[in-house]
């Protein structure tokens, strides 16, 4: 099936005008499947980390939101062990006028502002609520361990 013009244009623009700290590259054999890298936002526990994600545009995109998942392990109350993300714009608040670019920016913002009151990973969220300092410390450790160049 031919790729919709929207996807082609979005991809072109992602390459032509990249967002700082974010890259999304489509697979050659499947142009709906993207390798994504997001830099951890400055002054967050994820600073200095580069997080890998996979992004897939389903058949009826943009009527349904893209499917996105973290591949790099991350300690975050709204991201679970499998890398699934709890973010309103990826579910009920999705709008076809949103784009890959805007969604990735939202995810980057989520890294900068974890929301333990709407948790996906309950244990992490609880940790976050009971002892923020320790939780942030763990997040930093994980970032260093799994999301830097030294990590395998």
């Amino acid at each position: 099936m031919a790729l919709p013009k929207r996807i082609i244009k979005e991809t072109e623009r992602l390459v032509a005008e990249p967002v700082p700290g974010i890259s999304a590259v489509p697979h050659e054999d499947n142009l709906r499947y993207f390798d994504v890298r997001i830099h951890g936002p400055a002054s967050s526990p994820y600073e200095g980390g580069i997080f890998k994600l996979e992004l897939f545009l389903p058949e009826d995109y943009p009527m349904t939101p893209p499917k996105i998942r973290f591949l790099t392990k991350i300690y975050h109350p709204n991201i679970d062990k499998l890398g699934r993300i709890c973010l309103d714009v990826l579910k009920s608040n999705w709008s076809p006028a949103l784009q890959i670019r805007t969604i990735l920016l939202s995810i980057q913002a989520l890294l900068g502002a974890p929301n333990p009151d709407d948790p996906l990973a309950n244990d992490v969220a609880q940790h976050w609520k009971e002892n923020v300092t320790a939780a942030i410390e763990t997040a930093k450790e994980w970032t260093h361990k799994y999301a830097t160049d030294t990590a395998t």
């Binding site: 929207r6 244009k9 979005e10 943009p62 009527m63 349904t64 709008s95 006028a97 949103l98």
Partner: protein
């Protein structure tokens, strides 16, 4: 045929279709307290005390009700019908609240639902020079585009596709918003009908109707599969401790308006909920364990003693103890099989505690077994409908009776089913009743009905060749059963209405 009449009377109130006057009245009354202040009215009709007034509404009537209300509100507010519809749906068809909010701050309410200005325009598409649609990222000067009042413009194809996916995939209707992220503007029905394809319009109507019925406290969908009717009934949530509102849909499915469960006369909604939960609950297993088992004093394994003497040897840890006093067996010396510590106080207490627990379990099982028995029989008889028909044909051939003359079998089958349904729930009801005079009378009624029902069932099950001779007996018993059922339900409902029953638990 008593039962027949009764069966029909429920449905007949739904027969006067398209009675707008009626439905209109309903709404006018809405703000008044419709609870039991209307008791007089209920009594006035020749209805039995356990029956409630209700009306069956078909899709066109549901539509009509909405249109009437929308027009009303549109007239009062001086808004076009589309705007009135959006406002009503937004405030869940609460007219009073709508007027209050509107009078209080018209601008903020209109803004909230995305209707700042008047919405009297006719939707139309537009061509914009050098347009690029944000959804498909393509476009041209000759592409038809559409925008709501918010001005967020997309090409018609994308707009249509967006609405279709909302309606078809997400089941949304009344509260679809503009495709722009964060824009709260609601897509009004005029725009929607203008944009979507015909095959989706019926789905849209259906969804709109569904939200209407869901939003109205006096309306409920018939829970039967594939049923398209809704029931209108004035019984409210707070009345449910005093009345069991059984209604019968046009599709012949009887159900409780209060909880949408099957007909559960005479047992109030809150009790059947508790009862069903109790029956499903594992707590009863625990109960059984506590009544029938003890723990090994050493390793705490649960042990059921199912025979033999009091000398217990735990399978797991080989600990030897006395079942009576739970003490070490070695301390029993030679007084085997006759624990001499049995009379001690501690032993007595343990025994009392166990007896009590056993008694409460047995009480539960008493009611549960009877409840389950009727449930089972009822289910079997429901499957037997075809069998009854076959029996009727057979009887016709054998005895030379006419089709009309063998109808008594079908009537009996129906009565049996009704009686069993009622009996089933009387046991759940009785389980929660405190012991007093009313309860004894209730149980007498129950016993009487049960006996008669079993008799009728027995007659009914007889071989076909004996049935023609028994016709009169069956007819008599049938009438008796129906009457006893009515008596039991009426008496129970009467006391319930007056709050006279004493339950051994709280009713909420």
């Amino acid at each position: 045929m008593d039962s027949e009449d009764e069966f029909m009377s429920g449905a007949s109130s739904g027969d006067d279709f398209a009675n707008i006057e009626d439905s209109d009245d309903d709404f006018d009354n809405e703000d008044q307290d419709l609870g039991f202040s209307q008791d007089k009215d209920i009594v006035r009709t020749s209805k039995k005390s356990y029956e409630v007034d209700f009306e069956v509404l078909g899709p066109s009537q549901i539509q009509l009700q909405q249109d009437v209300q929308i027009k009303d509100v549109a007239d009062v507010l001086g808004q076009p019908p589309e705007a009135a519809a959006i406002l009503l749906r937004h405030l869940r068809w609460n007219r009073e609240k709508l007027f209050d909010r509107y009078m209080e701050n018209q601008a903020s309410l209109l803004d909230e639902v995305g209707l700042e200005e008047d919405a009297s325009h006719t939707p139309s598409t537009k061509k914009i020079p050098d347009f690029e649609c944000e959804i498909c990222m393509s476009g041209d000067s000759d592409v038809e585009t559409y925008a709501l009042k918010c001005g967020h413009r997309y090409c018609v194809d994308c707009y249509t596709q967006y609405l279709a996916s909302k309606i078809r995939d997400d089941g949304e209707a009344a509260r679809i918003q503009c495709p722009t992220s964060g824009c709260k503007r609601i897509v009004d029905s005029k725009s929607l009908t203008f944009l979507v394809e015909d095959n989706l319009k019926s789905r849209y109507r259906e969804l709109i109707n569904r939200t209407y019925v869901d939003d109205m406290e006096n309306l409920k969908w018939c829970p039967a599969p594939e049923c398209i009717y809704a029931i209108s009934c004035s019984v409210r949530k707070k009345d449910l401790a005093k009345i069991v509102p059984t209604v019968t849909c046009e599709c012949k499915h009887p159900f409780c308006f209060g909880c949408a469960h099957e007909d559960h006369q005479p047992c109030p909604c809150s009790l059947i909920k508790k009862w069903i939960q109790k029956c499903e609950d594992d707590s009863e297993t625990a109960h059984w364990i506590s009544a029938n088992t003890k723990e090994c004093p050493k390793c705490q394994s649960t042990i059921e003693k199912n025979g033999g003497c009091n000398h217990m040897t735990c399978r797991k840890c080989k600990h030897e103890f006395c079942w009576m006093c739970m003490g070490l067996w070695s301390e029993h010396g030679t007084s085997w099989y006759n624990c001499n510590r049995f009379e001690e106080k501690s032993g007595n207490d343990a025994r009392d505690a166990q007896a009590k627990s056993r008694q409460s379990l047995e009480r539960y099982l008493h009611y549960y077994n009877r409840y389950a028995n009727h449930d089972q029989s009822n289910r079997l008889e429901k499957d037997n409908f075809a069998k009854t028909e076959k029996k009727m044909t057979l009887l016709q051939n054998q005895s030379g009776m006419s089709w009309i003359e063998v109808q008594f079998l079908e009537t009996a089958a129906k009565t049996l089913q009704e009686c069993r349904q009622t009996l089933k729930w009387t046991y759940a009801f009785a389980f929660y009743l405190a012991r007093n005079n009313d309860t004894i009378m209730f149980e007498d009624n129950q016993k009487d009905l049960e006996l008669a029902t079993e008799n009728l069932s027995e007659m009914f099950e007889q071989p076909v060749e004996q049935l023609s001779a028994k016709k009169l007996d069956i007819l008599n018993k049938n009438t008796y059963c129906s009457q006893r059922r009515v008596t039991l339900l009426s008496d129970t409902a009467e006391l319930l209405k007056r709050g006279k029953w004493t339950f051994n638990i709280s009713l909420d």
